[in-house]
Symmetry: C2
Subunit: 373 residues, 2 copies
């Protein structure tokens, strides 16, 4: 039996080696596609092509007795690699005759990411940061686009300092995670075109493919057509929003969530939980939750402080949530199992069909995570 097993494993190895060769071949082809797209100014992310390709291969898999989900998962993983590779060739430039772009805070992580992306698209980019304050007046006077990429709590102050230093035809945008105050500050400091942007990702993304950028209107928004088009060329998806609406969603998604994660982490610390043991005992789902908590504490505390402390609405939601928890714990104090089940049912109904979709989504995610244990 050992011999048979050994022979079969050799054959499987040959198949897998064949796969490596296919990947090398595919990589070459994708590189050619990247070159052509770059020359022609076609976005690297092509949702329709992706859809058609997946559908065709799923059908072939079905016919060959192979799981369609398996081939789709493999292809999606390969496409992620392709998007990263395609971006190596640089991007088409949506406004080739634009003058200099100035990134205020260009030495920060997000500033560096956008500097790289603009440069890969052929723009002239300058950074205005703590190291070259003396050049501020000159840089701003020449700029055709100024991008504010500084911490939220400094945004308004820094924008105010720029007042009157930009030409009226210069475009002004910010990249902070709230939009009402930054937009108001920009509109007050600049008479030209203004737009608020919120890139919904961190500076560590390997590509902008499928990443969301929220844009909120300020003044003369049609002047930003080329910029939004440029984001599309980088692969990003655009989500228009009103500033108040955006900030409301961020209070929930960022301030409340980050605060409870912070509190959960400091709580585990205060109880001095044996984390190593907790990780050992963890089912994939708790491992994932623990990863979300550990993740926060591996990042910049100032960034999280900014997000949490600068959102008045967020602070109120946090207080409401704690009050809600105090109500909920009464169910335990009174051993009210029926009350728990009733609330559970009500909220379950409120979630509606999204509930099943989220269950499905998280199950798939947990299976993928299980692969890597």
């Amino acid at each position: 039996m050992t011999q048979d097993l050994g022979q079969l494993r050799q054959k499987i190895d040959l198949v897998d080696t064949e796969l490596v060769k296919l990947l090398a071949r595919r990589k070459q082809l994708v590189a050619c596609v990247g070159e052509i797209k770059q020359a022609a100014g076609v976005p690297i992310y092509a949702p329709d092509r992706e859809k058609a390709l997946l559908k065709a291969r799923r059908q072939e898999a079905e016919a060959a007795g192979v799981s369609p989900d398996l081939i789709e998962d493999l292809l999606r993983r390969m496409m992620r690699e392709s998007y990263q590779a395609e971006s190596d060739h640089g991007y088409q430039c949506a406004a080739p005759s634009l003058g200099p772009i100035v990134i205020v805070g260009g030495k920060g992580q997000m500033g560096l990411l956008f500097t790289k992306l603009f440069q890969l698209s052929g723009y002239h980019v300058a950074s205005l940061d703590l190291d070259n304050q003396d050049q501020a007046d000159q840089l701003l006077a020449d700029a055709k686009l100024v991008v504010i990429s500084v911490p939220i709590n400094q945004t308004s102050v820094i924008v105010k300092e720029l007042a009157g230093k930009m030409n009226p035809d210069c475009l002004l945008v910010d990249l902070t995670s709230r939009k009402r105050e930054p937009l108001a500050a920009m509109l007050a400091a600049h008479t030209g075109p203004v737009m608020g942007l919120h890139p919904m990702f961190g500076p560590d993304v390997s590509s902008l493919a499928k990443q969301v950028i929220v844009h909120t209107p300020g003044r003369a928004v049609q002047k930003f057509d080329w910029l939004l088009q440029q984001f599309g060329l980088w692969g990003a998806r655009l989500l228009p929003s009103e500033p108040a609406e955006h900030d409301h969603m961020m209070a929930i998604i960022q301030a409340l969530r980050h605060f409870t994660t912070f509190a959960y982490g400091t709580y585990l610390h205060s109880e001095n939980i044996n984390l190593k043991q907790a990780a050992e005992f963890s089912s994939p789902i708790y491992r994932l939750e623990l990863a979300m908590v550990g993740r926060l504490f591996a990042q910049d505390s100032q960034l999280y402080a900014d997000i949490i402390f600068s959102s008045t609405e967020g602070k109120q939601l946090i207080r409401n949530y704690i009050e809600h928890l105090q109500q909920a714990v009464k169910l335990l104090d009174e051993n009210d199992v029926q009350g728990f089940i009733q609330q559970f049912a009500d909220t379950s109904e409120w979630f509606g069909p999204l509930r099943e979709r989220l269950l499905q989504e998280s199950s798939t995610m947990l299976e993928r995570q299980q692969e890597h244990l």
Copy 2:
């Protein structure tokens, strides 16, 4: 350019079609491996073989200019499929001469899963559930292994009812998610071998490969060697633990976590948050967190009520946590950014090197999730 792009895409399609063929071939080979393993009683999950295979292909990829991480991810996904396929062939039986197995609660979801697994391994399995109470005495008298698979809050009562009905050589185990009380109840009701088990997964797993089963000692544990071996043949990983230690970890991992998820979901409901919009605005990480919440409400409320309400230690941890939150919110009330940053730094240090590992793990996970948007 459209023509060039079209031709390149055709070539990529050919590569992908080749991939489908490779998968079909691999599937056949894996099926043969499954048959041989089943006949020889070798576990389907072979960590050493997996490691060696990944290492070899990573080296080949490197040499061919292909990302080693890409080939590893693809192979892991393919291996997950293989584990599922291998289990279709049934499993070797670790105790072929064992008499009947009785699963108390055999019509429940977990009972059905273990019934299937035992049957696929050639055991004779009977269910004792609400529909055949009249056969209880006969079934229990004949049983060589009795598996208690009922809700936690009924375990002790049901175990008590079994007292004196089993032979002293019969093995008794339970599958509930706490271990102190169930073990005590089993030891009181049965004079023979006793062991507590906690399968750390839900009944919806597609295979036991890499899934963890915790086992806690009761009485005459060496009599369970074959059973633990059987779990290994199913692909499971075994984690020994003491009942008190296990229950402490579960209070944190299950009771506290499930309760806060419940409270967060009912809170979103009470604020009547626009979930559709929240999902649109969500970065991958919040989408994932939302999925965890929605997931809970798509499941059985009674199960969660059992887990939360039956754990005295868990209830206390929940109260401590809420108290901790009330302390933490004072940072906001007093606008104490420095205090926040200090606590953040302390907990960050307490997480230690695990912090970076969890960041890495979650980033990989988020990238995988991004593939599927």
